[in-house]
């Protein structure tokens, strides 16, 4: 099969280019894209990409495969290869450090903005802050996010305003703490979000939902933040 990979080494290349590599899959098996990248790296050790857990938990190997963002380690070739061809590019919109490795600083800065930790100004109980099973269930579909950046880098609003729009991933995390009954900072959190960019740059096109490798729904979480902002202001 033909693999077309985005290559860029700022130390030697003037500009990024696409490198075409013909590769035979051993035994004609249906392997994961990450395994294919490993084969490419054996051929050319300068080939650079991030990877760690190889089972969709660490979120290191988010990349664009035949036009769709996803995790290389849990995406089988049969899911993405079309006409025996696979185009691999780094996550769109973020600065490229080298080959498939992107600089995630903008993404993390937005994550940092939503204060992704529990804030509770009441005295700490002796053992732990308890939640009812129902209250805990509110966090399902939110806490599972692994910050792979597949969603935010699939979002045009994040491409155009990565410094102002928090992005689907950050907003999913924002709602994760807004929905937590143990958190007492809801008012401050909402006050931080009530500007024309942070939340409201989302136009609900649901690219984030389409690509999330964990099957989460940031658009739904953003809708719930909007409802909280409405309740607070009316």
């Amino acid at each position: 099969m033909l693999v077309s990979v985005y290559r860029y080494n700022p130390e030697t290349d003037d500009a990024p280019y696409m490198q075409d590599v013909h590769i035979d899959i051993p035994g004609g098996k249906d392997i994961m894209v990450l395994d294919l990248l490993q084969l490419l790296k054996e051929k050319d050790p300068t080939m650079t990409f991030r990877r760690s857990c190889r089972e969709g938990v660490c979120g290191s190997d988010g990349m664009n495969m035949n036009g769709k963002n996803g995790l290389a380690c849990i995406t089988a070739l049969s899911q993405v290869v079309e006409k025996d061809k696979l185009v691999l590019r780094p996550l769109p919109g973020l600065p490229v450090i080298r080959d498939l490795v992107v600089d995630m600083s903008q993404f993390y800065r937005q994550y940092e903005k939503v204060k992704p930790f529990l804030i509770n100004d009441t005295p700490a109980p002796a053992i732990e802050r308890l939640q009812s099973p129902e209250d805990r269930a509110e966090l399902d579909g939110l806490y599972e996010c692994i910050l792979c950046a597949c969603c935010s880098t699939a979002c045009p609003s994040f491409w155009w305003n990565p410094d102002k729009f928090i992005g689907p991933s950050g907003l999913l995390q924002a709602y994760r703490f807004l929905a937590d009954t143990r958190d007492t900072a809801r008012e401050q959190r909402l006050a931080e979000l009530d500007d024309p960019f942070s939340v409201f740059r989302c136009h609900g096109i649901m690219n984030c939902v389409n690509v999330c490798p964990k099957g989460l729904n940031p658009t739904k979480a953003i809708g719930k933040i909007r409802n909280l902002l409405l309740q607070r202001a009316t």
Binding site: P156, W160, K164, E192, P196, S198, L230
Partner: protein
């Protein structure tokens, strides 16, 4: 919190709500107009001016004009902040949009109360 002084209502929530409320007004006006034109096939000049001499119609039309201007401002402001990266050019674009919006309101009132 991201600050912004050129958006319609400064607050994202306010802009979001205005965009929806004005859309409903524009929808109602459009449906009314389509209905009126469909059910009066042999429309005469007298009938058409008569419609706009009615105070209720003038109120409804002015409401639609103001809604259109607010809706356009919020929408074009979003487009300009997405696609025009240079602050100077963006500010000029937004100013032209603002001026045009104002001109259309005044012009619309003049036409509406001129019939």
């Amino acid at each position: 919190m991201v600050t912004s002084i050129t958006s319609f209502g400064r607050s994202g929530l306010y802009d979001w709500m205005m965009q929806r409320v004005t859309a409903v007004v524009l929808m109602a006006y459009t449906l009314f107009m389509i209905g009126y034109l469909l059910f009066s096939s042999d429309l005469s000049y007298a009938q058409w001016t008569g419609l706009f001499q009615n105070t209720a119609m003038r109120i409804f039309t002015l409401l639609a004009i103001l809604s259109l201007v607010a809706h356009a401002w919020i929408g074009l402001w979003s487009v300009s902040t997405d696609y025009i990266k240079q602050t100077g050019i963006r500010f000029v674009f937004q100013s032209v949009c603002g001026l045009l919006a104002f001109v259309y309101v005044v012009w619309g009132i003049q036409i509406l109360w001129g019939v």
